[in-house]
């Protein structure tokens, strides 16, 4: 009897148990243009588009002074705006919002270090680099490297293997006030 009781209790507590896995990360501009998307859960393209559309709308509708968290469907959305870009992550109910915010911030710091005071245009024209950095930082929705230095080192060394022929920053010639706004990464979080 006790065994079954315990089993029941296990089942009962099961949904309460904390989970930490990021579901997806989206980067979009103030105009609602998607700049980067990374999905850590398998979803159909249709579903992805629907979620993106819905979330972009919801987040853009929030007032600047509002807190960075919102409950959306059964997920928690953690977002932060840096200049013209919104960084938006979805986590599960028991996850730690603050650590997610730190993850976002850490990613922005990494971008900033890599591009040298990053702006939206850097991410647009070098979107693959942005992905590479993200992939070095997060893997399957989990933080894989907590040291900034290590992430950048890995990226730099990988870049060394790459041909240097292409001029990466040719895109800069396009002058767009909004897009070149720096993401203003504060020094400490």
């Amino acid at each position: 009897l006790f065994e079954t009781l315990r089993l029941r209790l296990t089942l009962f507590f099961f949904p309460l148990l904390p989970i930490q896995q990021m579901q997806f990360m989206l980067l979009f501009s103030r105009q609602g243009k998607l700049r980067l998307q990374k999905w850590y859960v398998p979803l159909s393209d249709k579903e992805k588009k629907k979620i993106t559309r819905e979330l972009v709308q919801t987040v853009l509708a929030r007032k600047p002074k509002m807190c960075s968290f919102l409950e959306w469907r059964d997920l928690k959305i953690v977002y932060k705006r840096y200049a013209s870009l919104y960084f938006c992550c979805a986590i599960e109910d028991q996850d730690n919002e603050l650590i997610t915010l730190e993850i976002i911030h850490r990613y922005v710091e990494l971008l900033d270090k890599y591009f040298g005071s990053v702006c939206e245009l850097d991410i647009i024209f070098n979107f693959e680099k942005a992905y590479f950095i993200l992939d070095e930082f997060l893997l399957g929705g989990e933080v894989q490297e907590t040291s900034k230095k290590n992430v950048l080192k890995a990226i730099e060394q990988a870049d060394l293997l790459q041909e240097v022929s292409k001029s990466n920053f040719s895109g800069r010639s396009v002058s767009m006030v909004v897009v070149t706004q720096k993401l203003h990464v504060p020094l400490s979080f």
Partner: protein
Amino acid sequence: MALKMVKGSIDRMFDKNLQDLVRGIRNHKEDEAKYISQCIDEIKQELKQDNIAVKANAVCKLTYLQMLGYDISWAAFNIIEVMSASKFTFKRIGYLAASQCFHEGTDVIMLTTNQIRKDLSSPNQYDTGVALTGLSCFVTPDLARDLANDIMTLMSHTKPYIRKKAVLIMYKVFLKYPESLRPAFPRLKEKLEDPDPGVQSAAVNVICELARRNPKNYLSLAPLFFKLMTSSTNNWVLIKIIKLASILHFVYRIRFGALTPLEPRLGKKLIEPLTNLIHSTSAMSLLYECVNTVIAVLISLSSGMPNHSASIQLCVQKLRILIEDSDQNLKYLGLLAMSKILKTHPKSVQSHKDLILQCLDDKDESIRLRALDLLYGMVSKKNLMEIVKKLMIHVDKAEGTTYRDELLTKIIDICSQSNYQYITNFEWYISILVELTRLEGTRHGHLIAAQMLDVAIRVKAIRKFAVSQMAMLLDNAHLIASNTQRNGICEVLYAAAWICGEFSEHLEEANQTLEAMLRPKVTTLPGHIQAVYVQNMVKLYASILQQKEQAGEKEAAQEITQLMIERLPQFVQSADLEVQERASCILQLIKYIQKLQVKEVPVAEEVIALFAGELNPVAPKAQKKVPVPEGLDLDAWINEPPSDSESEDEKPKTIFHEEEQRHSRHRQPEIDEEELARRREARKQEQANNPFYIKSSPSPQKRYQDTPGVEHIPVVQIDLSVPLKVPGMPMSDQYVKLEEERRHKQKLEKDKKKKKQKKEKRGKHHRHNSLHTESEEDIAPAHHVDIITEEMPENALPSDEDDKDPNDPYKALDIDLDKPLADSEKLPVQRHRNVETLKSPDSEVPLVEKKSKKPKKKEKKHKDKERDKGKKKEKEKKVVEEEEEEEKKGEDLDFWLSTAPPTAPTPQPQKSSKHKKKKHKKEKEEKSKDKKKSKKKSHHSEEEPPESVQNGTLEDEPLPPMSSYRLLAENPYIKMTYDIQGNLQNDSQVTVSVIFENKSTSFLKSMELNVLDSLNTKMLRPEGSSVHDGIPVPFQLPPGISNEAQFVFTLQSIVMAQKLKGTLSFIVKNDEGSTHEKLDFKLHFSCASYLITTPCYSDAFAKLLESGDLHMSSIKVDGISISFQHLLAKICFHHHFSVVERVDSCASMYSRSIQGHHVCLLVKKGENSVSIDGKCNDSTLLSNLLDEMKETLSKC
């Protein structure tokens, strides 16, 4: 110059790079789609070229387009081409594209297996890294199965960069291919103590995820995590560990029972480091995590811990700091966590009321919502009005309807909680409700309506006021129902109409109200509201009629009747059936009344009697609590069943008549008075007999004489000294103000009595202060309004059930445990793959087995698939069987048995070892030794089994001696043999009898036996001892002496054989001194040991077989030389069966498990073989039993 331009454009055309594409898209804002389709055409051209650089460029552009939302799945093959490029530049792009657009449904994904494997083993760590990253996004079950081994190897890579990626991706592999978990787990565990913090954190991450899915298997890691929790300095890792620790804590609790004394200790063990962290950390995320975990743990703890409240206090303090922070995020989270505490420790939160009230004014809506959640627990008698006033202001200001609706429900929740406990002035509450009806577009009209009804019914003293307010609402119905599209709120008219009708005696200007109800506009309301209107206007009419008649104003009475007759037809025409039916019925009634009125017959008394009686709330459990009178058998027939139609009614005529009436109501408009009276009588009768309709006192048939009736309920008169109207203010505000004044006055009076000490300080200006310093008891409600208690039947037994605290922390545990498990509830179980379908190495097969099978397997694999296996085999050996959970052993055993040749020896040799390769040979030796021993043993027996002839029809043929005692373990000092017997009294216990034989010349003492419990099988230990405590053997052994001790084990499932590891520790004492010795053993619970020899008669046996709910299975064993007689005896003895019937070389046998499974066997002997057909309730149990039997027989 021109040439240059041309050249440029040609370049562009043929080699448009990503930047060009992006720029192009930006320059073609108007016709983006067209531009992109043009680009896609170009890309298709580029992909056709052989140059890999061009292809990579094209794929890169495609990836960008994919992000913009274009489908690029058609290029999957090209992506694979780019992935397999040798240059890192291209490979990287290929993998990126793949990770963005591949998913399980991508069919070409299977082509990547070899490429990925190649990349994984590449000497360049970045190749490997890129492959791992990509794989994490698109791993499929096939890929997981094929690459599991490669990734596992990478977990021990020299570079931490690779190790951490491999560890993390292992989780994805486990998800897709669960079979890989067991072989990979030991290595994963090692990684917890990896020198590189990144790898360590990755391992923590993965184990945390795994533990979340199936926590029980990770309990053994708890100590390690507690250690890490106190030693780790990396906050990222710490947060993970804390999460994991709390998971493990929960599981531990559940597994070892919340009632054991161990449990609070464990909680404390977890709480201590957490509180230390809370004190010391400056990282908010970590603080938040700790606080959350502490809350979760404390909430779950059943018994009060010594520092319980201190920890909660600490959490609340820290949360206060968060809430006070200027950072909106921290504020939000602080409130969120507070609401968790509120459920179990409302007191601790209440002291921070001020702060939470402040948050109601926050500019951020999400924060206000969180604060609203908390308010529920914040209110008290003294601050309710204040809080609600604040909320009302927010209601007015609120912009979005969602927030306003939320506010509305919260106001109602707060006010109505615990039976209106905190409301001191119900007039105020009614006015609040009325004010709420001014909300436009709310969805919650029905909520307000329900509150109005509830209050009006239950608070007798408020009815007069309520009725006047409701009449006002009805009068202004056009405002409320002006737009039915935004409906919702018109629900309140339902309540208003009902209240005005039911309590019409309180109505001052009933005429006006009746007129309002008869307005043509009413017909636009929803049907159910109109129906209530129709019904209640009759009530209203009746009371007006009575009033007029009493006053002798006959004309006025006729006028009102005329009004009804004029207006009612609009309802008769209603499309809503309910409205129509009621209206036409009532119309006829009123026409009849009119006739009487013309004849100047006083009718009011009769009409009003239609609605006589009062409605009182009945407790939800009242019906259940009606005590059964002595001598009444509720199950007995009152009358003979067929005659029930007669007994039902003494006045069948009336019923019949009524029935007829209904059918022909239009043709027969006249209802004679007698009929009316009869109906009335019937109605009264029904009311009297209806437990949900409590009669008013004059009823002659009052059922519960001693029940406190309505008139017994103490209702104190409203103190009408309070002036009701203060012009120029919204209604509810007046009450707040009045209340303040009243309280102030009270206070002053009290203070006067107290020698006027502090009178000056508590003026109006300090009202906040004064309110807070007052104690709850000081506030006497303005209207001492008693809420009518819900009625209970006479002699209702008081029971605790009713008084459950809604905040009871254990309420959540109130689960129906008898309900069978739904599939969805079942815990995930790892299953073995069948041997036939086994494509990848399965290390669960014990080594011995594997060696012999190796060549065969190899062949098979070569045939089946062209995968390179050589490497795998190497690893296969390494990973063999360092397995953790005992319970799994049972499965292993089955697995092993099923693949083993029938001549397999006893399944003893599965010893876990850390030096697998070396131990290998030893094991084999041991095994053969075991075999010899067991054979030897079976020849020289220790006791003649009585069971063997117990109930059989066996002939008196001499049987070979047999012993059920098997060797458990042996060393130069001691030999242990054991036997397991089921316990019929307890379906989950078996008794293990162990014979200890002292083989040495020394004295053996302080023997202690301990086993490592599995989830399924546990040793029964005395109350209060932990799972790690052994059980002392209750005797000492002088040299050469043997003695027997018994140990009881509890089991959950008995369908599988089990193995438990254990240790006997003892002290050897001889002339030279004493030494501490240990002997490890493995206790094997065979399925047969769960069976109890139970005699069964052949007819019962036949019935059992016929019943058809048994599963069937059979085996055949060749090469049996012993006689059938001996064979049966063996089965009887070793497997606890009894012979039911025996005919020549065929016998039926029966046994029962301790849990009541029936096991039936049909044993047939052929020339040199025996076939056994078995039937049993449980197929697993049966197949395991048969396997065991096969093993026994194969030794014959």
